[in-house]
């Protein structure tokens, strides 16, 4: 795997830089592609295996014999398969993402946007509140000792279980739509941000704090010029955790009210009516959203840390 740079054929026929780049890509991408390809193969095999029972039952009822190739052909095209084949999900995704107007209720983009807007709103709230609380914790000893153990302990309890209650209670006092889901997203992203930000704001070393003290810097100056910049890597690490948790919160928040819009609602209605293809496409869409959100945070992190001269 690790061919020395000067090995024969190391950059054969290309400039050194391009050859090196190509080899780096091949070294990284090839194994990932192989694994992804393996996943697809397993998926197809599982689809044939899991759906074949239904095909055989149908054939037995009709009193027909089916050959193996007929079984395979049938299992990959069923309407309500136990496990839809990848291409069925792809067709459904194409139908609901590209073909439909994005304002239509049948469009997956529409549902994804409903969920995403709740996610982003909640993530914003949770992050701001988390940072504020972390600032308080770092500057106030009593607050640190009171709140911090609870913030850490909250990571060990399944707070997602409160989601249905929040939705229904807010519904009964007349708050509906985006806000209840956003609140769930907010509290799921809140704790990772608090915990990460506290360790970030505490990350400056004694030497650096001493230097600012010799400059006679005020607490505010120490905060703006040392603590806050030093906390950025920690902040982004917890933002990545937080935004993924926010999305999960928004999706789960759509379950209990039997909402009709949003990715969670698509999952729920799919499971009520046995529309497996719909469940899978909603699931893929949720995965794409999660990857997109985490990717955006990662990109912002890269830019910010680079501008601050902190990228490793």
């Amino acid at each position: 795997m690790n061919i020395p740079l000067a090995a024969p054929g190391a950059g054969a026929g290309r400039s050194g830089r391009v050859g090196l780049w190509l080899r780096g890509v091949a070294d990284k991408a090839l194994p990932v592609l192989a694994v992804v390809a393996a996943i697809f193969v397993i998926w197809y095999a599982a689809a044939v295996w899991m759906n074949s029972q239904w095909t055989l039952d149908q054939a037995a009822r009709a009193g027909q014999e089916v050959t193996f190739s007929e079984i395979v052909a049938d299992t990959l095209t069923q309407d309500r398969p136990k496990l839809p084949a990848p291409h069925q999900v792809a067709v459904e995704l194409y139908d609901t993402v590209i073909d439909k107007e994005i304002t239509s209720r049948r469009s997956l983009v529409f549902h994804a946007w409903i969920t995403l807007s709740a996610t982003l709103l909640g993530f914003g709230f949770g992050t701001v509140l988390g940072i504020l609380l972390a600032v308080g914790i770092v500057h106030n000893r009593a607050m640190d000792m009171s709140v911090m153990p609870w913030a850490i302990a909250s990571q060990t309890i399944p707070i997602l279980a409160i989601a249905p209650m929040i939705i229904v209670v807010l519904n009964s006092v007349g708050v509906q739509g985006l806000v209840p889901k956003a609140i769930i997203s907010a509290y799921l992203s809140f704790f990772p941000v608090v915990v990460g930000m506290v360790s970030g704001l505490r990350s400056p070393q004694g030497m650096q704090m001493d230097l600012l003290r010799t400059y006679n810097a005020s607490t505010a100056e120490v905060f703006w010029k040392l603590r806050l910049p030093a906390s950025m890597p920690y902040l982004f690490a917890s933002l990545k955790v937080g935004i993924a948790a926010s999305l999960v919160g928004a999706i789960v928040g759509e379950l209990p009210t039997g909402a009709v819009r949003g990715l969670g609602a698509r999952l729920l209605s799919g499971s009520y009516y046995g529309q497996t293809v719909q469940i899978w496409s909603a699931l893929i869409m949720a995965a794409v959203c999660a990857a997109l959100l985490v990717g955006i945070v990662g990109a912002v992190q890269k830019i910010v840390l680079k501008r601050m001269g902190m990228s490793a």
């Binding site: 992804v36 000792m145 911090m148 060990t156 309890i157 997602l160 279980a161 999706i251 990715l263 999952l267």
Partner: protein, 313 residues
């Protein structure tokens, strides 16, 4: 507090306390004018704030480290109770802690049944299977750098996805009972555990591996004597993350269908019937179970990785 009596007595009110109580008195008078109901709330809040500030100013010890969060938690509970009672908050919006406690003690058999169904059958069995499978997979792919390079990015990617969304699918495949919940838990814990174990297996330094080589140790000897023990801090990190995931997975999977018992089932049906005191009782049980589960793994970690710097005292 007797051992703290000397510093406590010396500056009994503490510096700044006069100012603090003065400000509090002003706030209380204003509150009295605006709404008498606020008075006890602010009084309790102000007093426990002062108490915690005083204790926090003492030299740090085991007692103060325990007392401050406990006082904070109790204050929240008392304020909660007062708010509900003073403002007559209806029980369908926020039941008082005493109501929740009454329900908790009255419904012990139901809660126990739900706990067994969700935690023992669903979460725990799924946790054991998922973590064991991930651990074995990690050890197996450890021999192939190609598989590692392929599986790790994919595993990291999947670990960030909303895997909870697979719950409806798995409920469809494995039926309504605990098997489907265990399956959701397996899927949820597998990748975080895999990624952590793989990271742990590469945690040894080349110097240490060279030493094993000079001993003519075989692959398996190196694995069991050096690399697995060195991987344990990472493995336990994964195990700890997975405790919460397991409980969340088991509870949320029940929202998609379950037999007529289980914590998730009880939460969703009681929410529908506006029996919020029962919901809070279930949440209390879930919180206790989650903390105890995490605590148990943390105790095991301390026993296994006693040599690690983070565990030394």
């Amino acid at each position: 507090m007797t051992d703290q009596a000397v510093p406590f007595a010396k500056g009994w009110l503490g510096p700044g306390s006069v100012k603090f109580f003065g400000a509090l008195a002003v706030v209380l008078v204003v509150a009295l004018v605006l709404s008498p109901g606020l008075l006890p709330l602010l009084a309790v809040w102000g007093f426990s704030w002062w108490l915690n500030a005083r204790i926090a100013a003492l030299p740090k010890s085991r007692a103060t480290k325990l007392a401050v969060p406990v006082i904070f938690g109790l204050t929240i509970l008392v304020l909660w109770q007062l708010v509900v009672r003073i403002y007559d908050v209806p029980g369908v919006i926020l039941p008082a802690p005493t109501d929740i406690w009454a329900r908790l003690t009255a419904e012990v058999p139901t809660l126990w049944e739900d706990f067994v169904q969700t935690f023992v059958k669903g979460a725990l069995s799924g946790y054991v299977m998922g973590c064991a499978a991930a651990f074995v997979t990690a050890v197996l792919i450890d021999r192939s750098p190609f598989l590692q390079k392929g599986l790790l990015p994919v595993g990291n990617f999947i670990a960030a996805l909303p895997i909870i969304g697979t719950a409806p699918i798995l409920v469809m495949w494995f039926g309504f009972d605990w098997e489907s919940k265990a399956a959701v838990v397996v899927v949820m814990v597998f990748f975080p555990m895999l990624v952590n174990t793989v990271a742990g297996l590469s945690a040894t330094e080349s110097m240490q591996r060279d030493l094993m080589k000079t001993y003519a140790a075989s692959y398996w000897q190196t694995l069991f004597r050096l690399r697995l023990p060195a991987a344990m801090p990472f493995v336990f990190n994964g195990l700890k993350i997975c405790t919460t995931l397991a409980l969340i997975g088991a509870i949320v999977a029940e929202f998609f269908g379950s037999p007529i018992k289980g914590m998730g089932f009880r939460i969703s049906t009681e929410v529908g019937r506006l029996g919020l005191d029962m919901v809070w009782a279930e949440i209390t049980v879930a919180a206790l179970a989650g903390s105890a589960f995490y605590g148990a793994v943390a105790v095991a970690e301390r026993a296994v990785t006693f040599w690690h710097p983070s565990q030394r005292k």
